[in-house]
């Protein structure tokens, strides 16, 4: 959903790119990239690749306070990187694989730009 809105913002012709980017940055205050920007959050995501865990089980893997870990889990949930699953009294957190794929898509667009540039450079070098 956020991703689609992001595309819409990008699709608008806009001379004032700074403002455009700022609004994107604000809108995306909680985005998938923020999920992976922090080493503890990356470690939590790695843990969850094995399976769903409760906040307590996650916290056991870290030296930081339970509160600190809980804050990271909250950010991950806000980013959409993890989903909650209520099982009886316990809440389990699991990876949102689809959301993580967004990163790949953005990276692919960046890769594509460089590939195109280099193909154009090949043509230029042939003519030099």
């Amino acid at each position: 959903m956020v991703f689609k809105i992001f595309l819409k913002i990008f699709a608008q012709p806009n001379n004032c790119i700074y403002i455009c980017n700022q609004s994107v940055a604000n809108y995306m205050r909680r985005d998938i990239y923020q999920a992976i920007a922090d080493p503890t959050r990356r470690a939590i995501l790695m843990l969850l690749t094995v399976g769903a865990l409760t906040p307590n089980a996650i916290a056991e893997h870290f030296d930081s306070s339970r509160q600190a870990v809980s804050k990271h889990i909250q950010i991950l949930a806000e980013c959409g990187a993890v989903d909650q699953d209520q099982r009886g009294r316990e809440i389990y957190y699991q990876l949102n694989i689809e959301k993580m794929k967004e990163i790949d898509r953005w990276m692919e667009a960046f890769r594509k730009m460089w590939e195109t540039r280099f193909d154009q450079l090949d043509n230029l070098l042939n003519d030099l």
């Binding site: 991703f3 689609k4 595309l7 990008f10 699709a11 012709p13 806009n14 001379n15 004032c16 790119i17 700074y18 403002i19 980017n21 994107v24 940055a25 995306m28 985005d31 990239y33 923020q34 992976i36 920007a37 922090d38 080493p39 990356r42 990163i103 898509r105 953005w106 990276m107 692919e108 667009a109 960046f110 890769r111 594509k112 730009m113 460089w114 590939e115 195109t116 540039r117 280099f118 154009q120 450079l121 090949d122 043509n123 230029l124 070098l125 042939n126 030099l128």
Partner: protein, 164 residues
């Protein structure tokens, strides 16, 4: 593929490693990366075109160019040369630009180190490492250069989303 294109993101290290081989002498490749009229011929992915505003190819010098879209709107890309080894290496500091092409002092920054290596058969290998400074990796996607690629592949992405 004979051009050995490599594109390897290391998100944890906030780096992207890009490598490519070209079927031309190192002298020619160097010229294509450093002379404004030649840069303009390849730096903007079609249908974008590039217009150089400033290119002061000295250490501390500024490189400012615009990617111009089909409807005439401009995306500015600003870089400062931090190190130059004639014929073999270029380092730049990239900064975020406002709509008039002025760098934003406290905006996100990126660093690019590019090395040129002559290889067998009159070929040249170019290795680039782009390092992003900001805490959040979202910055790399609003940093100059990415927008263009994004816009270019927008249709593809929309198709992708529509198919889901």
């Amino acid at each position: 593929m004979t051009n050995k294109f490599v594109f390897e993101p290391d998100l944890a290290a906030k780096k992207i490693y890009i490598s490519r081989e070209f079927n031309a002498s190192i002298e020619k490749v160097w010229r294509a990366w450093t002379e404004p009229d030649l840069i303009e011929k390849w730096i903007a992915p079609k249908p974008w075109t590039a217009e150089t505003k400033i290119l002061d190819f000295t250490v501390g010098g500024v490189w400012l160019y615009a990617m111009v879209g089909t409807e005439g709107h401009k995306h500015w890309v600003y870089a400062e040369f931090t190190a130059i080894e004639i014929g073999s290496a270029i380092s730049t500091l990239g900064m975020f630009c406002d709509g008039d092409g002025n760098p934003v002092a406290n905006g996100p920054k990126s660093y690019r180190d590019t090395k040129f290596l002559s290889i067998e058969g009159n070929r040249t290998k170019v290795d680039s490492v782009i390092t992003f400074e900001e805490e959040s990796t979202i910055q790399m996607f609003v940093e100059g250069g990415f927008k263009e690629g994004t816009t270019m592949t927008l249709n593809q992405l929309e198709e992708l989303l529509a198919s889901e």
